[in-house]
Symmetry: D2
Subunit: 371 residues, 4 copies
């Protein structure tokens, strides 16, 4: 269904940007795990707008509340409902303004589909909906930390428009380091230029896009299924379900098409009695199943649709209109805030497939498993 | 579940490459539609290996049989089972050879996950599994032809390694034209060079990859859902579930990150009393929902993992091994055969979302719809 | 998944009896329907304990709040979250008392399954969880009223222990009439005796059970699917998922086994140009699909497990214990409150299958349908 | 979806009674289990018509074939497709005869729903469809035998019309004993009378119904989920999805409504260091979750709709018709053949919930579980 994601660790998102709140129900979380709401809050705070001059000046508090599923701080195995209430949400009515379809937003397609839409704010198409994903993922991460402690999921801004971060030292990467700078790009030089570029675009009322790199370091083996639910297929869906994403690749991705098979193949070797690959062009997934090597993905985000320039458009009555939004309240670049969103979707996919694989493994014939 | 795809038009795939057969059960197909098994066979024949010197010389017949769901050539609304029996499938046993994990194949991860695998052929990881997808899609296409006659789903080879097809005239594209040449690239000049390149790689026992472009011309409006089941999200999952795919993009995709918002936004206008966009950088999908403009996707396929060179690897007992497959029976380039697979997955996604949207639309308040 | 119900109209329930609240997310509700929260509140009030001396004296307010999915009172097509916050919920800790497994409650099996449970109140096994179902159904009913106005779903108490309501005049039945008496039994004479019986049981600290009859009058035709999702199968699941239900029958049910086929078969006739059955032993469903005749079900509810007598039991440390609950706060008979719960589950099943059938019907070939 | 059942052990049924065959795809079966096709065949043979004078004289062979998912007799973890091809299936066309809606069959509702139906035989409504369920269950049973060896699922005929088997010694029950007599009733005296009754009904061209008792002896603990997917809810759905079933009860069922709470409650005690109940009025399930005590169910089957008497009905053109089937080929009583069908559906539910519970248990915090 449209608003649920995952098979065994299943999250259901709800909430418009200007309704009562945005929340998530998590069904299938195993019981007995200690959950810190502070950690969930901290993850949500990374998603929140208004963290820097590069993003919107809104100061939403986004305070998470847990309505169910925890007692004494521990998961009960029952559905966990997390909500962030909307403060100061203003309810609009259909006005001349709200009848206008903003270019490259979801206004038109939403009305086309439903015949109605939340005219106050972006409704479900608002980035505010990602609160649900991030809150669920921040909880999932705490469970995964106990189930597979070595796993680290880290994303960062790899490019903004044509500006590219130079190659990054994976081993020294940490969310803390990446978060040190508001741009969430670990390359010091590049991020200065990127910030410059974004501010210039902002000044002109324009916007820019870019790419996020996401890494899963020391991931569990055996995640993903052979045919439709390949791990990369579910990761691709996860990422392409984020607002403004337009492209996804795993491992070498599109660059893999430039190589001969003899260059791209990853050879196997045994290291510390473990089967490993000598290279990792596959990006940690082979035949749809994780092989234990680091998983590497890249996701493209288009430039933000909200720009402060006059644009030609039409309204719901099919009259031509020119549209220019009121100043304020919009990022010229979503990239820094997309970093925790990408991490969140990755965590939801890994958590779900971890449980699915756990079920299979728990029934496996003891003489059979390599894991 | 691993082996099912789609929500309302739901296909369940089964079959190993060397078992009794490969098949699909289609659940949720509407009743009363005339289905031509010949058309399904014709679509399957496009997928079949051995169509040219560029692909494997196997001559599988891949004859489709329908076991249920049709009577008098019409869909009954009940599950439709289509099977292609495997001819001459040789059953191997675990031998020294089958114990060896072929580099960048699914052998290792399959055993890791299940503790066992079909040692005869590639099992579920074989491209032969895509028979199920293509058969189901060939049926879906016949239903869609009645439900939305203007739709055309057409894919072609856009690049092989570094060789790129020049821009293609979309209006004159047809499957027939594309199929005229075994490479399935509509650019005459490019395809000659591509063929050359593939044959050279083949001679060296090597393999190459490339990109497929897929277009949905005149698609239905309103397909896709606002949050997780965005149309591009389900398309991304569909494509990334194909063997050897490593990247996906829609609309401008990764190139969109090079543009300013003011360049990338698609303005609305009214044409023939219909709301349209003046440009189509969004690739026909906005806010996860199709807006009626053409949908354009690009999918990256890595070079084939089977190469006829000696490679270092290990076996299931963790002994180092060198591996070189016996000659024959493998494509040096999957791209031409990937064309119908990409079309098939696109059709399955469109058919599923068409039914989902149909349900909503059939309940819509009459004064509300723009569609 | 455990906490979701329905395929196309999908409700996800959350909330413990003594947590932050109990709520539901409704996914798949069509757009543009006017929803009255007052009507939802009124339905919830019928479920609420403390409505009479026959039921628990608790005075929970159960005020419903809508967090999403509505704007200007209309459904947006997006997920609708409804919550009833828990007032005065006291959080207990594991005490000697809470370690004791109450006989025929879910305490033991919940700990068995999860290794943990909400020790404050009954957790998810509390009848309070049914708030989620009733709230969702009260909304569904408002949508169904527009989609199929003739439908009426009415339940009533048919028996309490050995006391049986005499045959009831279906045509004059209404919820208003049934609700006139706190027992929700339309037979005036029987309900007096039933009330007497319940009060006597209460005086002795004991409890009683009984049966609910549920009718769907003038239901839509064509609901239900031929094999697993037969309409009666989904209704059976719905009813048997209610706390304390132990039996389900449709049409003549168990009594049908006493008849010859020649007695039980419903003959067809044409009335007002419509195909009807002359009798309705089938209870409105044939081959899993509704035929338009009234649907009739009976559901058995066991006597309430909470009794105010000393009982032998054990605690989680496997020590023998005697258990007697503190006075107050429990119904001696769930039947009157079970009436709206049964109606609610019926409505959820009908709504879901209505949408599923709508999808099929909207694609049906025009020359084919009888409906 | 209509044709799939189960969440983690998911079976998809296909096939009309007179199409190419009836089959099932099993998705989610754990890997490495040895499967005997002979055992599947033996289970299917118990379902087969024509086993005695009490049932139809058809001599279908019902030979099961496995198309996928097994290699060397072991499950691969991939989807398992089992098919029974239809022999001598005659394809009818719409004739005057097939236009007539047989009373209390699915003919009318199927056409109502789909606008079309398989006129050759009963299509999906035929008992032949249960081949898919029985084949899948016969496989599931072999996996369960290894995962929980003490479990026994045994059903038998408890009543035919008004004739009731006397209480049966559960400890000495076995399928072999029950199968010794064609009626599958373990009470020697009762079954003679029942046989007599059925033969008399047959002679008159009439039919009878009755009840099946199904027991799960020594079942796994912890199966079932607290809210919608209660074990008894899924069992109820399973049973009510069988052709001709009209009622379901678990534990004391409807008789429980005749007891006081003080009579019905099951007290806990510790036996051999295990928590057990002293009585088992709950029928092995409390709060929707199995407690390890025997599970007991009863299912009502109506008299067979096919009788050899003239009946009033209508045809699809709404003309009145009299209907009397040609002699032969139909059971006067489904009960004996319903026994393996009921066992099959029970096994499918237990297998599915076993896997679901296994996943939770494999993630449980070690200090928490009672199991």
């Amino acid at each position: 269904m449209a608003s649920s994601f995952g098979h065994s660790f299943r999250v259901t998102s709800f909430g418009e940007s200007h309704g009562g709140g945005v929340g998530v129900v998590i069904d299938g979380c195993p019981a007995g795990y200690s959950i810190s709401l502070e950690k969930i809050q901290a993850f949500l705070d990374r998603r929140r707008p208004g963290q820097s001059v590069l993003s919107t000046p809104r100061q939403e508090k986004d305070q998470v509340v847990c309505l169910s599923g925890l007692e004494g701080g521990k998961t009960l195995g029952t559905p966990i409902a997390l909500v962030v209430y909307n403060k100061d949400a203003k309810k609009d009515h259909y006005t001349d303004m709200t009848k206008v379809f903003r270019p490259s937003h979801a206004d038109y397609t939403t009305e086309l589909k439903y015949g109605i839409r939340a005219v106050s704010g972006g409704g479900r198409a608002s980035a505010r909906e990602t609160i649900a994903r991030v809150a669920a993922a921040a909880l999932a991460e705490q469970v995964l930390e106990e189930l597979h402690p070595s796993l680290k999921v880290i994303a960062y801004v790899e490019s903004v428009k044509h500006l590219q971060a130079n190659s990054v030292d994976v081993d020294s990467l940490s969310r803390e380091k990446i978060d040190e700078h508001m741009l969430r790009c670990p390359d010091e030089q590049a991020r200065e230029q990127m910030s410059q570029l974004i501010l210039e675009a902002k000044k002109k009322g324009d916007s820019v896009g870019g790419c996020i790199r996401c890494l899963c370091l020391n991931p569990p083996k055996g995640l993903g299924e052979p045919v439709f639910d390949k791990l990369e297929a579910d990761l691709a869906k996860a990422m392409m379900s984020l607002p403004a994403s337009k492209g996804f690749e795993v491992g070498e991705g599109f660059a893999a098409t430039q190589l001969f098979g003899s260059e791209h193949n990853d050879h196997f070797e045994v290291k510390n009695n473990e089967i490993r690959t000598t290279t990792n062009f596959s990006g940690g997934i082979q035949g749809g199943i994780s092989n234990g090597e680091n998983i590497s993905m890249r996701i493209a985000f288009k430039p933000v649709a909200t720009i402060f320039k006059e644009q030609q458009t039409v309204d719901r009555d099919k009259n031509p209109q020119t549209f220019k939004p009121k100043a304020g309240r919009h990022d010229p670049c979503v990239l820094p805030r997309a970093v925790p969103m990408v991490e969140a979707m990755t965590l939801l996919v890994l958590m779900d497939h971890f449980l699915r694989q756990k079920m299979l493994a728990s029934c496996a014939k003891s003489d059979a498993s390599l894991a």
